[in-house]
């Protein structure tokens, strides 16, 4: 029988998580230069459209259909077949399958949208749309199946065989997007003028608004992943708040000590890094554990985002530094801080005398997902580059992609720009 309270929360969470992607569009859009701001936002909206179509056709089925050797789901739900009036979840906490399918769709959407930050200002729009479709199919769907498709021990190999813990997508969303972003940034190459010309964020208030939308939506992302409106959701929600708040402050503090000033971009980025670090862990650790992870993530990510200048890859909006690095810290943090007093379905980590078993499993999940995602994404991006081309022409990049690809511009301050 359908549990209406649980269903209401999962339905609301689906809407909350979808809200994150326009939030990401605004977060990213404010961070790039005005001449390509619309293109940046358009990449997120394309992710919503393309991913949804794929999800209906075969995405949901291959992710959550009956597992084949823990690697990929089956075709039985193609076209969302056998999902109407069906339920998922344990007795007493059943929700409509379509509520679950909608909720999970929004995760796929934001994960691929995150990647656009690594190739800001220089990707051909049509190639991006094609990339979204291929990447969701060949990278997101398998990884989501591995870590999310729990089927009484016979589902995805990470969740059911390895037994690594990932509450809301530290592997599927964060490490996956971080590793893929690195591959994309390497294949497409640096923006013209990287490290030489100023590429200041063109609108910091937009960045802060977007960060706020992401923070808000993340409660659906993390607490919604309980798939039930109970204690576990409450724990996940407050843990999300604690880690985001703590990381926003430690990022700013780290900046203050290093650069002399605490910046708005630092506070916004820290909040995201905190939400990322707690994503896999929020349903397995207690609030003080969330505080510790948040404090660490703010500093670690603030340091990590500066490494691209040293290594010379142009991960323009720091998907690797914020999502990849914080995602790894969150996954490792579970191995240390997890306790079954928070979640009986979880495990004990180091501190709760669970030994190194869980931590080892977490490391295996991190390494396999990161390697798979990096290699597969690199191949996909290379294939697109070699056929229809992925990188925009240099002239178009210098002009700005908004007018080139969309025949629009983000701002018309004077109201007279059609004349002069």
């Amino acid at each position: 029988m359908i549990n209406s309270g649980d269903t209401a929360w999962v339905l609301a969470s689906g809407a909350l998580v979808l809200f994150m992607t326009p939030g990401l569009a605004i977060f990213y859009g404010g961070m790039v230069r005005a001449k390509s701001a619309l293109n940046m936002m358009m990449m997120s909206f394309a992710a919503i459209g393309v991913t949804t179509i794929i999800w209906v056709l075969y995405g949901y089925s291959l992710t959550f259909g009956k597992s084949h050797n823990g690697l990929i789901g089956g075709f039985e739900h193609v076209g969302l077949a056998k999902t109407l009036n069906e339920v998922v979840g344990p007795q007493g906490h059943q929700i409509p399958t379509l509520a679950f399918a909608m909720f999970q769709l929004t995760f796929a959407v934001i994960t691929v949208a995150l990647l656009s930050g690594a190739i800001a200002d220089r990707a051909k729009y049509g190639s991006w749309v094609l990339f979204v479709a291929i990447w969701i199919t060949l990278v997101y769907i398998p990884v989501a199946h591995w870590a999310f498709a729990s089927q009484s021990g016979t589902g995805g190999w990470i969740v059911d065989k390895l037994g690594a813990l990932d509450f809301a997508g530290g592997t599927v969303v964060e490490i996956n997007s971080g590793a893929a972003a690195l591959a994309l940034a390497l294949v497409l190459g640096k923006r013209d003028g990287f490290k030489k010309d100023p590429m200041r964020p063109h609108n910091m208030p937009l960045v802060l608004l977007g960060a706020g939308m992401l923070w808000f939506g993340w409660f659906g992302f993390n607490a919604g992943s309980a798939l039930s409106a109970g204690s576990l959701a409450a724990t996940a929600m407050i843990n999300t708040q604690i880690a985001s708040a703590a990381a926003s402050m430690t990022w700013a503090l780290y900046e203050k000590r290093r650069d002399g000033k605490a910046t708005t971009l630092g506070v916004a980025s820290g909040a995201i890094a905190g939400a990322v670090v707690i994503t896999p862990a929020c349903g397995f650790i207690n609030p003080l554990g969330a505080l510790i992870l948040g404090l660490i993530a703010g500093v670690a990510a603030a340091y990590a985002v500066t490494r691209k200048y040293k290594f010379g890859y142009d991960d323009s909006l720091d998907v690797v530094g914020v999502h990849g690095v914080s995602g790894i810290i969150g996954m490792l943090g579970i191995g240390v801080l997890a306790t079954v007093t928070v979640n009986a379905a979880g495990k004990n980590g180091l501190i709760a005398h669970g030994g190194f078993t869980l931590l080892t499993h977490q490391v295996i999940a991190i390494v396999v997902v990161a390697l798979f995602s990096f290699c597969a994404t690199w191949l996909i991006a290379k294939a697109i580059s070699a056929t229809i081309g992925f990188r925009a022409l240099r002239d178009d990049e210098l002009t700005g992609l908004d007018t080139v690809f969309h025949a629009e511009s983000a701002y018309d301050i004077t109201g007279n720009s059609n004349r002069y």
Binding site: R200, P201, E255, T263, L265, S269, T306, Y309, D318
Partner: protein, 112 residues
């Protein structure tokens, strides 16, 4: 007739406007602009990366005046805009051949 052009710090514009109004100056034009002088640019930091911003926001004020009034207006602007710190700006005066009021067609002194 003279055109007095002043490049000043954005925060000084209101004070200058009031000072000019109090002293009976009838009109002025302001525009937001950017530039650098001896002050050079400034540094901004985004996610730990320093960017040197060469052109600093300033406001350009333009006032048309009779030859006899020009020196007084320049003094007024200089006094008001002066904070004693680098980057206060510059004021210069250029000769103007003629001025026409669009509505009436008045020329020269009458158009001011």
């Amino acid at each position: 007739m003279k055109l007095i052009t002043a490049i000043v710090k954005p925060g000084k514009v209101d004070d200058i406007k009031k000072a000019l109004q109090v002293n009976g100056i009838q009109g002025m034009t302001v525009s937001e602009t950017r530039g650098f002088g001896r002050q050079k640019g400034h540094t901004e930091i985004y996610r730990g990366a320093e960017y040197t911003v060469d052109f600093i926001p300033k406001v350009r004020i333009e006032v048309l005046a009779d030859d006899a009034d020009a020196a007084g207006i320049v003094d007024l602007i200089v006094e008001t805009a002066n904070s004693g710190s680098i980057g206060d700006g510059k004021v210069w005066v250029t000769p103007v051949e003629t001025v026409v009021r669009v509505r009436t067609g008045e020329r020269g002194h009458d158009a001011l």
